[in-house]
Symmetry: D2
Subunit: 147 residues, 4 copies
């Protein structure tokens, strides 16, 4: 299978993940095919992304400050089926930092260390009042770039 | 099977439903047992309840006025398994009107007219500012009692 | 507020919980009212119930043996609103064991030990082939009654 | 905002949609930001895709025959926030037909005809027994290519 365009070198790409979120597949997340429904990957991505931003100390800024974040786009590549009860590790990283946005990458592995899903999506910082996109300040940019 | 305590006389109970919400079971609502996951019944109830309140002209009061509603309790009795793609009718009625609350009943039938789920739950009107329960005004009570 | 009919004595009822499942509220589980959507309580119940049955060693019987389980009914009483990010403990216990069913009770508390939701529901053992209800064997009954 | 790579010419791309699925946003699909949660877009895509395949007469083949379909990848671009109660039209089309897969595109508009989300994803036909990808037969290819 061809690699997704957002993965240039699989080995390098994988090594850059240093933050992981753990979860266990719920029964209500499966579908009649007997596996995790494809829409649930994005629930896992969101959960891991928020924990990642909390870990970086960025969530407070968005809850208390004049800016918040919105999802620009999201994508997922399904590599291996996941079943009820499986324990998964969801890697998250800030792959590219733009002026007002950050490209977040995701990698989901099962307990055997086998790759199940990969993904990415652009998060955009916006002004709560004006609505338009808002540039990162120096501190946020530094946090995201060294993450 | 014994009847749920909220259904005294099944025939009378069924006849009192005059409002119905239609839906088609989504694939993402099934689980690995091949049927609709039991948690989804409450998604159907909520959807039908909101359409019912809109139909009665009550939603506007809660969006614009000083009061809103919260869910006090919810219950569902599962009579018949439902599969992906089935077309369901969800009956909703205001069964008992209290001073600050209303007991809403639900009845879900499939396209063959077979009963699949029944349920009920208490909706409480509360004051948006103070948080405590708030009595229905004359008009709302009249609407709910004649519904 | 009146107690639900399934809680005779709150203190005794609470003390009987010895199995707890931990979870953290996901952002996708909130709704536009800013709290956990009421339908999500049943997702938490299901997750905790399955972990409880795994803990009791019963899940294997249903996966490999001639019987499985279905949900007869479910109910939830909402005591306190829950927000995104809250860490919850979900207590589960087998409250009453019937010939072919078990009444499972639930208690959800937040990190401050405050009660957020209580609930119950009947789980019925059925024959995979014939479909009808199937009595517990001696071992299963013993496990459920001493749980 | 730059166009997603899967939309070469927006006008042409939009005109090629001839199948539409209608839906109304459920309250349980919103999140604490007050809009539809980003993960729900993929629930809408799945629902519309299945209705599209039913419309083309392909679902029967996968239910009864030796082949079935799996999701290879999925992506969504979020153009405009969607609120509770909005009525949406989800356009679906088979954009490119491969040997064993089809690239399905999605376009979601609100009641004012404003674009809310666009997306795409590869669906792969696989052999139920062997698990590997399975080529379309002549009839299926013809249906997909003229769709």
């Amino acid at each position: 299978m061809a690699l997704p365009a957002y993965i240039e070198n699989p080995e390098t790409w994988e090594k850059e993940f240093t933050f992981f979120d753990s979860l266990k597949v719920r029964f209500s997340e499966t579908d009649a095919f007997g596996h995790v429904n494809n829409t649930v990957a994005f629930v896992y991505f969101e959960q891991a992304r928020i924990h990642y931003f909390e870990h970086l100390g960025l969530m407070k800024e968005w809850v208390q400050g004049p800016h918040m974040i919105v999802t620009g786009d999201l994508q997922c590549d399904y590599v291996r089926q996941v079943k009820f009860g499986e324990e998964l590790e969801v890697g998250v990283k800030a792959a590219y930092v733009g002026r007002t946005s950050v490209d977040v990458h995701y990698m989901i592995k099962n307990a055997d260390g086998k790759l199940c899903m990969t993904g990415r999506g652009r998060i955009v910082q916006i002004d709560k009042e004006k609505g338009g996109s808002a540039p990162w300040n120096e501190d946020m940019r530094a946090v995201l770039e060294t993450a």
